[in-house]
Amino acid sequence: MAHKSEDLFDCILMADDRFHVEGYREGFDEGTRQGMIDGRKHGASHGAKLSMEVSFYYGFGITWKCLLQNNTDVKARKRLKVLESLLGLIQKFPHEEPQYEYLQEDMEKVRAKFRQTSVIM
């Protein structure tokens, strides 16, 4: 009997605290779920931007390579060399690894190579 009445008061006294903890847990779970969704969107959008950029450089490189391939003069040879270098850098680039430690550095190298290529053409 005494046991039951203790529980009863316990319930009432600790109600505030209990609801606080429950509320926090529910909020945390909801936040985690929402965070996952937002993060996924964010990652997908950044990934898309990056691959759009890299694909643009690749397409540029392949197009000019096709145009200059059959040209035998010295200038064209030099330009092809630079194009091959650009295409090589892009092909080496790990497309599937977002955690690649040299991602930023290699992207800078690709961008610099593209700038050089666009000035040379």
């Binding site: 060399k81 190298k109 610099a112 700038r115 050089q116 000035v119 040379i120």
Partner: protein, 329 residues
Amino acid sequence: MKDTLALLQKFNAHPDSRCWYVAWNPKGTLLASCGGDRAIRIWGREGDSWECKTVLQDGHQRAVRKVAWSPCGNYLASASFDATTCIWKKKNDDFECLTVLEGHENEVKCVAWAPSGNLLATCSRDKSVWIWEVDEEDEYECVSVVNSHTQDVKHVVWHPTQELLASCSYDNNVCVYKEEDDDWECRAILEGHTSTVWGLTFDPSGQRLASCSDDRTVKIWKECQPGGTDTAWKCVCTLSGFHGRTVYDIAWCPLTGALATACGDDGVRVFKEDETADPDQPVFSLSAHVPKAHSQDVNCIAWHPKEAGLLVSCSDNGEIAVWNYQSAV
């Protein structure tokens, strides 16, 4: 007998604007200056004074920041805030614009010719350093674009004897580049300055590099373990407490080994190296100082390539000053 730095001549080179840079041609017969008025002026000696021989006015749309003579003396390159670099060919007393190098995204801060005469380097506020190659037909081609700096690149300078390039930046670092497989890459990053590094100069032998900075110090760097593909540089001396403000330019005399600096406190200083010091721990002392060399910031300082002791400086007030440095020893 004390060391002296005496004023020989002072004249207004760029009316109502800054004079950004001055450069002697390899023979020392002409002086090129450039300024905020978008013009390049060529000065020649007439007896005891310097007279303006040519004005190149229409080459650029914005201020011309630096000019550089080719090692043969027949070409002049100018770097401008309009994002282009102009190559001028000397034809008797006049200059003709041969070609315009484009590619930088914004202000070009410096241009420099390699001692071989076949390569040219430019750097810009777009954080990149570009290396260009010249062929026999005067055609310029971009060989490399390097993005080693994380901020505005202020100056580039070539090694006097090797194919080595150094650059300095608003990111407080100095980068050293070497060629590998037709591509130029950063091989060393020299850290140490605590603010923007504005100028660089190699000593006559190329074994040491001096840098000057907004942190009011000058640092001397020496290559440790030279040779091989990699290069490592160590700071072997720091000159602090001599300059009141930013040190904008530094020049190592190829004839005497004296070091001159251009400072934001309007002063020009010359430092002499102590002959008895350990070569790995050089000691420099202030040999001569003119506190109010100009009435505004001194932007550039350059030693004459043939006449020992002849020094020229230029300032924000548009003036050029010619000095004679005499060492008592």
